[in-house]
Amino acid sequence: MNIPRFWRKINNRYNLMGTKCENCGQTYFPPRNICPNCRREGEIVEHSFEDEIGELITYTIIRSAAEDHEKETPYILGIIELEENTRLTSQIVNCEIEDVEIGMKLKPVFRKLGEQSKDGLLFYGVKFSPIGKEE
């Protein structure tokens, strides 16, 4: 990941900032500047997903990963639905592999996503965690 690209997306990555089409109501994450349903009629505005509770649609267990995520294996990579038809891929944390379940409710949490190199930039952003008992 290069630095300008990461920097431009900080608000999306930290705060789950996506977009919404005011015309048809469809939300987008990652954000889109044009609504594919409405094209020119679409009216795109910023839309935050950070208070949304997501649902786990499907997942896979990653047992061998590229060098930068090697130390984290095995880990859970899930597809999470935030709102109707708005899905994203994210690591599921605070969850044992034997406890992961399709349909489980997930909340966004702030975690380290990776690092550029040993002496390079640290990348932070959202991952998802099961909702605790009290929540």
């Binding site: 608000n11 930290y14 702030f110 380290k112 640290l122 932070y124 605790g132 009290e134 929540e135």
Partner: protein, 344 residues
């Protein structure tokens, strides 16, 4: 009056028991537990660090009072384990609570008391109307060298306090500090683990400063120990805060509720602030709290706090300290070492 508008806590879910660490170093867990009055400590997940803990605590504080990030005009993050040597943790927090760009921000370092130093700074800004509200955070993912006594207690966690004048849940009536150059604990630039002066440093370090600051505050407030409902002290282990409290004339009822060190270890910059949060979780309007931090090197900040009627509605809107004490998953030493990247 200036005081605490909101507070938020975060402690990672992982724990490691004293037995598990003692097994590796062939030490006797019972004598360690008895000596330190600590049974286990908290440990971060492999993708957690001081910045992520600070952000989670900050978000829990924001959530409690439904404050908008833009209202926070100052952020100070105190830690001895900032992820970068150069590049502030505070800007990461500011971005993650949408407080940017109209605010001042900086990182603080003063061993375990950098978070309370941040509270004092926020009080100064709010009192002088330089900021509407400020946020002070104490957070750490502390490291003890493998095999060092600190490895049994060095925990992870943090707390965030929003300081302001309106809608305060607790007034901070006075704060006072006690600071000297005392070389009891240090880490040189570029070194991975801290070093310490060993056992003898308790007296000139922790006890002299905690007792000095607390007494000085009571003198200025013209109060006696029995006037306080709660007494919170920095918790490097389970023994020191109890001994300091007794020396100062506080009783068990006043100090025992805030002792979380036996379950999560010493959370360094988070320690006093999490202890105070556990008291706010349970306190009643009108309660008087005295809270004193300690940072090696050395200094203590002491606060006289009075709870208002606002506390009851606000505290229910965020996770309490007990929630974090209960949510736990135990690690083996191998898993713990891998998470902390001790084994490379």
């Amino acid at each position: 009056m200036t005081g605490i508008v909101s507070y938020g806590v975060y402690v990672p879910k992982y724990r490691i028991k004293v037995e598990e660490i003692a097994k590796v170093w062939k030490e006797d867990p019972e004598s360690i537990k008895k000596g330190l009055k600590v049974n286990q400590k908290s440990a971060p997940g492999q993708d957690e660090d001081t910045a992520t803990i600070a952000v989670e605590a900050a978000r829990n504080a924001i959530k409690r009072q439904e404050i908008s990030g833009e209202e926070i005009e100052a952020i100070y993050v105190g830690s001895e384990s900032h992820p970068y040597a150069v590049k502030p943790t505070a800007t990461i927090v500011a971005e993650a609570i949408k407080a940017t760009p109209n605010l001042t921000a900086a990182d603080y370092e003063f061993a375990c008391k950098a978070g309370t130093a941040g509270i004092q700074n926020c009080m100064g800004l709010v009192n002088s109307d330089m900021a509407k509200m400020g946020m002070a955070i104490g957070a750490d993912v502390s490291q003890g060298a493998p095999g060092d006594a600190l490895e049994y207690t060095a925990g992870s966690g943090g707390a965030a306090y929003i300081i302001g004048k309106e809608d305060v849940i607790a007034k901070i009536k006075k704060t006072t500090s006690y600071t000297t150059d005392t070389p009891d604990f240090w880490r040189r630039e570029g070194e991975r683990y801290p070093r310490h002066g060993g056992r003898f440093t308790g007296k000139p370090g922790y006890f002299s400063h905690v007792i000095g600051a607390t007494k000085s505050l009571m003198d200025k407030m013209d109060t006696e120990p029995n006037e306080y409902d709660y007494a919170v002290f920095h918790q490097p282990n389970g023994k020191f805060p109890v001994r300091a409290a007794k020396k100062l004339g506080f009783n068990k009822k006043q100090y025992q509720d805030c002792l979380v060190v036996n379950k999560i270890g010493n959370t360094y910059s988070g320690s006093t602030l999490i202890g105070l949060a556990s008291v706010l979780d349970e306190s009643s309007p009108g309660d008087k709290i005295i809270a004193t931090s300690y940072g090696s090197g050395a200094g203590s900040d002491s606060f006289h706090i009075e709870v208002t009627s606002k506390i009851k509605e606000v505290r229910e809107k965020g996770p309490k300290v007990n929630y974090f004490l209960e949510e736990s998953k135990y690690l083996s030493y191998g898993e713990y070492a891998r998470n902390k990247e001790k084994v490379r």
